[in-house]
Symmetry: C2
Subunit: 130 residues, 2 copies
DNA sequence: GATAAGGGTTCCAGTAATTGGAAGGTCAAG
DNA sequence: CTTGACCTTCCAATTACTGGAACCCTTATC
């Protein structure tokens, strides 16, 4: 199938699929007219990539996971290790955002939000710490 | 003061301060030798920027907030509005990460993590939906 | 006076993962 | 034969820096 069709099926934009070919994540064949020709295995790979990216894995993680996916002699512990590391990174990010959120929502609640210039949000931002 | 000193005080790397000058967020004077010379107002601005970035505001948000900071006739409602929008974006991001986290931690818990190749994580990633 | 250390300067390139757009080739239908 | 929907490649932009090269300024030391 052509790139438009597989794009529909795997959930990735055609542009992204071409990019993934560029960086060596997939290597579709070419038809005589120069069009990329994708087979069922390509569909599996691209679906895999789409899903992994949706779960926030980096492209480099995806590369590792794809290699494991294609290696029939892998140990599931290797996969689990990559996933757990990613989970840790997600948790760190959530904690960081939560901390931002807490500070910011406190500031927002303090601010009158009227037409006077006095503003606790700006006051906080501009405060030079000792 | 020179860039090294103000960098210490405001918490931003010298490189970042130069970048902020490039994009017009600060405009320090220059000494005769061509060195940037920062005053107390520059320190306030850069501290402001450092804090706002720490809270996750984008550079463009910072630009808006800085303009409000410098406008003595601002309405605090304008500041609050920017902050609330940002808060919404943070909440969305947290929700998205939380959803990734839930899915991933479920998969991780299902995976034996031993030296056998069978792996629910890879199975999930490769599954072509509907 | 030479030199070395520790500032400072500019400018160019790279990061992550796409995305947008231009210029142009291909194919099926009317 | 032309129109429209595909496809192709290649270059540039995005966000917010960061690294590095090549070079200048200042001060202290030999």
């Amino acid at each position: 199938m052509n790139i438009g069709e597989i794009s529909e099926k795997c959930g990735l934009p055609a542009k992204t699929i071409r990019y993934y070919e560029d960086i060596g994540l997939v290597t579709p064949n070419r038809s005589d007219n120069g069009y990329r020709h994708f087979n069922a295995n390509d569909l599996h790979k691209l679906t895999f990539l789409c899903r992994a990216r949706t779960l926030g894995f980096s492209i480099e993680d995806c590369r590792i996971l794809m290699a494991l996916y294609e290696d029939e002699t892998r140990a599931s512990s290797d996969v689990k290790s990559v996933a757990k590391q990613h989970l840790t990174r997600i948790d760190e990010k959530i904690a960081q955002l939560q901390s931002m959120r807490d500070t910011l929502s406190h500031l927002v609640s303090e601010c009158a939000g009227d037409n006077r210039p006095d503003c606790p949000i700006l006051n906080d931002l501009a405060a030079v710490k000792g």
